[in-house]
Symmetry: C2
Subunit: 352 residues, 2 copies
Amino acid sequence: MATMQDVARRAGVSLSTVSYALSGTRSVSAATRDRVAAAMAELGYTPNAMARGLASRRSRVLALVYPAAERGLGGTVAEFVSAAADTARENGHHLVLWPFRTNQADEVRDLVLQGMADGVLVMEVTLDDPRVATLRDAGVPFTMIGRTRDVGGLPSVDVDFERTTREAVDHLVGLGHRRIAFLNHSEATATEGYAPTFRAEEGFAAAMRSHGLEPLTRRVDESPQAGREALADVLADQPGTTALVTMNEIATFGVLAELQHRGVGVPEQMSVLAIVTSPGVADMSNPPLTTMHAPGAELGRLAVLNLLSQVSGEGSPAAGALIGCTLEPGQSVGPARDAAPASGAAQSPPRP
Amino acid sequence: MATMQDVARRAGVSLSTVSYALSGTRSVSAATRDRVAAAMAELGYTPNAMARGLASRRSRVLALVYPAAERGLGGTVAEFVSAAADTARENGHHLVLWPFRTNQADEVRDLVLQGMADGVLVMEVTLDDPRVATLRDAGVPFTMIGRTRDVGGLPSVDVDFERTTREAVDHLVGLGHRRIAFLNHSEATATEGYAPTFRAEEGFAAAMRSHGLEPLTRRVDESPQAGREALADVLADQPGTTALVTMNEIATFGVLAELQHRGVGVPEQMSVLAIVTSPGVADMSNPPLTTMHAPGAELGRLAVLNLLSQVSGEGSPAAGALIGCTLEPGQSVGPARDAAPASGAAQSPPRP
DNA sequence: TTGAAAGCGCTACCAA
DNA sequence: TTGGTAGCGCTTTCAA
C-alpha cells in the first residue's frame, strides 16, 4: 500500500502538502494539486482511515443504532437509512448501522468513547429509553429518532403524530364521516413503551373530540388475522362505522381481506386511511390504499444534519423537529355512505 | 480521556505491560494484572480503537453490506444479522451493517482498502454480481451470502434451495398430493438476477419430475393482491390442485385470504406449505402455516466464521456451505383431499 | 515476567 | 503557497 509519504516523494512535494491537497484544509496551487493528484493516481494511493482518525481524533463515522435483529427493517426505516446515508456522505461521513439491541446501552456509548464513531443516531426510542440516559450522562453526541417521555431539550426528530392523526380525522370528517375507528399497533408495542402507539392514539382521540365525536380505538397485533378480527370487533361494537384509520400495515391487509369477504365495498361502504405508512404498501392492495406516508427520508436528512452540527461543534442544533406525514391519494377513501343521500351528514346525531 | 500511558504510570508498570495485560498476547503475572486492572478502573480507561487499528493494521470490524435502503430487512435477514453479530462479538469483532446499494462496488472495496473494515459479508448476491468481481480482483477478504452463477470456489454460504424444494415436494407427495403448484417470487426479482428465484424454481421442477409429476410454477408479485390473483390463475389452469408450495410471504397472505373467500378449507381441501420463511410468519395466519424456516441464524454464524478464517489468515475457509430449511409443522398442510377416502392414497393415479 | 522504543500513516501547528 | 515535525495512542519486536 502506498502511503502519503510515497505520494509526496513522487510528486516532489512535502508530506504535509499532500495532506492539504487531499483534505482541502488549506489552499494549494493548481499546479501542485495536479502533480499530487497524478502521483496518487499512479501509485493507486488509498488513504488510511485509521491513521487519519487517530491524528484528527475523528472517525467520520456516524453510528445508527437500530435493533434490526429484533424488529426487521421496514420501508419507512429503509427510506430513513437511505436519506441519512446520503446526507452523511454529502458531508464527508459514513453512516453505519450498528445492530445493537435496545438493552446494550453501554456498548453503544463505548462505540463513541472508543472512537469508532463520532456520534449516534438512536432509533426506535421508547418512552423511557435506557440508551438515551446512558448517552446523555456520558456526554456522547446523539440525536433521537422519536422522543422519550420527557424530551427535556434533547436533540430529536420525530413524526408529528398529533398533526398526522388530526389531518387524517379532518380529512375523513370533511367527507362526511362521523363514526371513525382507529386500528393502532399492538398491545405488545404499548407494553414495551413504543411511543408512536401512545402518541397516535392520543392524537386520534383529541382530533375526534375536537369534532364532537367519540373516538373508538383498537390495539391490533401485527398480523393479517388480527386485522380481520379487529374489523369484526369494531363492526360489532359500532355498527355504523364508515371509516377506519389504520397505523398497522400488516393488520390492514387482513382488514381489507375481511371487508372483501363480507362484501363491504371500499370505499363505497367503508373508507380505509392508512397512516404512517411505508412506500409500496399503497399498491399492495386492490383498490390501492389512500395513505399518509411517513416522512422517513426527511427525518433521516434532518437527523444527520442535527448530529453533524453537534459533532462539528458548530451552531446549536435544533432541539427537536416534528414532521407530518403526506396524504397520498389512493382509492380507499371516499364520502361517507350515508352522507350523500341524507340532507345534512355532518348533523347526523351520534346514537346513544 | 485516560491513555494507556496514564494507566501504566498509575499501576507502576511499563506501557507495554499494560498493552499485554489488556490483550492477553503474552503472559502477565497475576499480581501485575490485578494492579493494571485496578488502575484502569480507577481512571475509567477506555482503549482507543483508532490507535489500536493503526498499530495492528486491523480494525476488528466486519462489514455486512446489504442494500437495506432498497429491500428493507425481513425476518430472515434479521436472524442472520443477529447471529452474525453475536458470532463476531464472541471472536472479538464488531459486525456492522453498511448500507451500500448494489451498484456501489467500489465503495465497498474501499471500505477495506482504507482499513475501516477487515472483510466483507456480501448479502443479496445476484447471479452476476458486480460487487463480487470487484472484491475478488482487489484481493479483499469476503464471503458471499448466496451464490453467483459461477461460484468458482469463492467463499459462500447459502440456503440449499435444491434440497429445500425437494423436501417440500417429498413431504406433500408423501401425503398423497399429486397436483402441486409453486408460487415463486416475482418476475421482477428474476429480471434483476435474484438467484433464489431461479434455484427454487429449478429445484421444484426437478423434484416434481423425479416423482413423475408435472411442475406448475407461477412468479408472483410481492403483494397480497397478486397472491389472490395467482391462486385464481392456478386453479383455472390446473383445477385439481391440492397443494401449494409458496416462497413469497406477502403473496401467501393473499392466497390464504382468497382461499377463505372461496370457501376452500385449509388444509382439508388445499394444503399450503410456505418455504424459506422468516420467523413469525407462521403465526400471522389462521390456521397457522406449516413452514420450512430459512436457516438465517446458521448462515450468519457460518458466514462470520468463514470470513474470520480469511481475515486471520488461519486455515483454509470452506469454499461453500449449503444449509437446508427446517420443516416446522403448522396446520396448513394435510393429506390430499381425495387421498383419505380412496384406498391407497399414494397410489392414486394422476388424472389425465 | 517485564521494559524500552520504533514505528503504524496521518493531521495540524509553527515557520518560512 | 509550501515544508518540517511533533504528536495521535497503541502494537510488537528486541533485550533484559
